[in-house]
């Protein structure tokens, strides 16, 4: 695992190749691509179920984002470290076991230190296991790349997911509940009769907001499904 990484490093030194910069252009792209041009939600259309389910309010969405970033980054790191040891025939189940372990950890920690959040998110945190983004990154990236690159890839995909669901949650909470992070924004500026939209609280609202986001993003990037 890490011993192997040092071996690789030694080989590089022997060949007198200059080490790749800490944040080379290629590595920057690993992080920035999933943020917009290759976004897991708006371009790859993965992880939609949780994007619809948790985005009623900003606060649980933020916790969910942190949980997903944590799970993707560490799952990517662990799988990447083990990538040469994992037998090909059982690789999917190994990936699943690693993801499930991390998710259980998150869930247990929430239960111990943020019980109210655990009650709101309980079921959804468990469902990170089935979030296609996580498994997708493990299979497509971590199985074939070095640990450091995999961490960057995890960060990129995690934040790509996070900013989209936070944007959706922002509009849903603003229009559906008239608040931001439970702060009644319209009442604060004196608009007490703000008509909150029940549709936004329902999953349908998430479809609408998400659809608009995908539309904006794809017309900007010119991406077309084939």
């Amino acid at each position: 695992m890490s011993a192997e990484a040092t071996v690789v490093e030694k080989e590089l030194k022997v060949e007198k190749k200059p080490a790749e910069a800490f944040l080379s252009k290629r590595r920057k792209n690993i992080v920035t691509d999933p943020l917009s041009d290759d976004n897991p939600i708006t371009i790859q259309v993965l992880g939609i179920c949780s994007a619809l389910a948790v985005t009623v309010k900003l606060e649980p969405t933020l916790v969910m984002s942190i949980a997903v970033v944590f799970v993707i980054v560490f799952a990517n790191l662990i799988i990447s470290l083990m990538r040469n040891l994992i037998p090909g025939r059982i690789r999917i189940i190994v990936q699943l076991a690693v993801v499930a372990t991390l998710v259980t950890l998150v869930s247990e920690f929430l239960k111990a230190y943020s019980y109210d959040m655990y009650k709101v998110l309980g079921a959804y945190v468990g469902l990170i296991i089935t979030n296609c983004i996580v498994m997708g990154r493990l299979e497509a990236f971590a199985m074939a790349n070095k640990p450091y690159d995999s961490i960057l890839d995890g960060l990129g995909s995690g934040f790509g997911y996070a900013w989209i669901i936070l944007t959706v949650a922002f509009f849903r909470e603003l229009l559906g509940s008239g608040s931001i992070f439970d702060f009644k924004i319209f009442e604060a500026i004196g608009w007490t009769t703000f008509p909150t939209n029940g549709l936004m609280v329902d999953s349908i609202g998430a479809f609408v907001v998400l659809g608009i986001l995908i539309w904006i993003q794809r017309s900007k990037s010119g991406y077309v499904e084939h």
Binding site: V56, K57, L85, I86, P87, G88, R89, I90, V94, A97, V98, T101, T104, L105, E108, F109, K111, A112, Y113, Y115, D116, Y118, K119, G122, A123, G176, G198, V201, D202
Partner: protein, 253 residues
């Protein structure tokens, strides 16, 4: 790359041991903190049914208030106090698992009751809180119904749920909905029959009787679950209520 079957078996075994070990370790380490959270949550709900606790910031404040103001007993369906379980250990109302309890026969169940004591005179009961349990649309719902010392007028309610839809059924936990139960609603009719409180179908309905509260638009099944829960459990507590009524709110020992 292709590996031998032996390699795969050994690899899986090692993975299983490592992951299993990590999981059990976390579970053991976090158990005390989790139990504390559950306890705090229960106490918050009991107090929340009778008073506004949103001004309390630290868990200690809530636990201290609970210690000073709440006395609990466990009764059976006849309203008789049960002091010990079948093994002879003292029964603690807070430890009764509402979900497990709900699954057994009505006659066999344990019924915890929380008495909120007067701030200056701890011999006077200000309110009685009755925990209850039922089913909503997707999963379980639970409630704490607080009655005034006359054991008829509702002082307040607190509900919890596992998976009701946010914005629809989950609104039972909102203050606005809970306050509907506070508008001088009574569980007994003038003739003394148990009527319970019913959440009506539809929202914004006026001219409700003292046994009805306004409903939840789009969450009729959750509301029905709440009604069923209240009716069932108030029925189960009825004997205790009738026995205790007329004792002028003296704390029972």
């Amino acid at each position: 790359m292709q590996r031998s079957n032996i390699y795969i078996l050994v690899f899986s075994a090692i993975m299983t041991v490592l992951i299993g070990g990590a999981m059990s370790l976390t579970s053991v380490l976090l158990k005390p903190a989790q139990d504390k959270q559950v306890e705090l949550d229960t106490k918050k709900k009991i107090l929340g049914a009778v008073m506004d606790i949103s001004t309390f910031n630290t868990p200690e404040e809530i636990l201290n208030l609970y210690k000073a103001r709440v006395k609990s007993v466990v009764v059976d369906i006849e309203g008789e106090i049960i002091a010990t379980d079948e093994k002879g250990n003292p029964l603690i109302a807070e430890k009764v698992n509402a979900q497990k309890n709900h699954k057994i026969d009505r006659e066999e169940r344990l019924y915890p009751i929380y008495m909120i004591l007067n701030e200056s005179d701890p011999n006077v009961v200000e309110a009685y809180v009755f925990p209850m349990f039922g089913l909503g649309l997707w999963d379980w719902i639970s409630g704490y119904v607080a009655l005034e010392s006359d054991l008829n007028t509702v002082k307040g309610v607190a509900f919890d749920h596992k998976g009701e839809t946010p914005g629809l059924g989950a609104r039972i936990t909102e203050e606005k909905v809970r306050n509907r139960y506070k508008e001088n609603k009574k569980i007994f009719s003038d003739a003394g029959n148990l009527e319970s409180i019913t959440m009506v179908k539809g929202e914004g309905i006026t001219g409700l009787s003292m046994h009805e509260v306004d409903g939840l638009s789009g969450a009729t099944i959750t509301a029905k679950g709440v009604n069923k829960m209240l009716k069932e459990y108030l029925g189960c507590y009825q004997n205790f209520i009738k026995n205790t009524k007329g004792q002028n709110g003296i704390a029972i020992n």
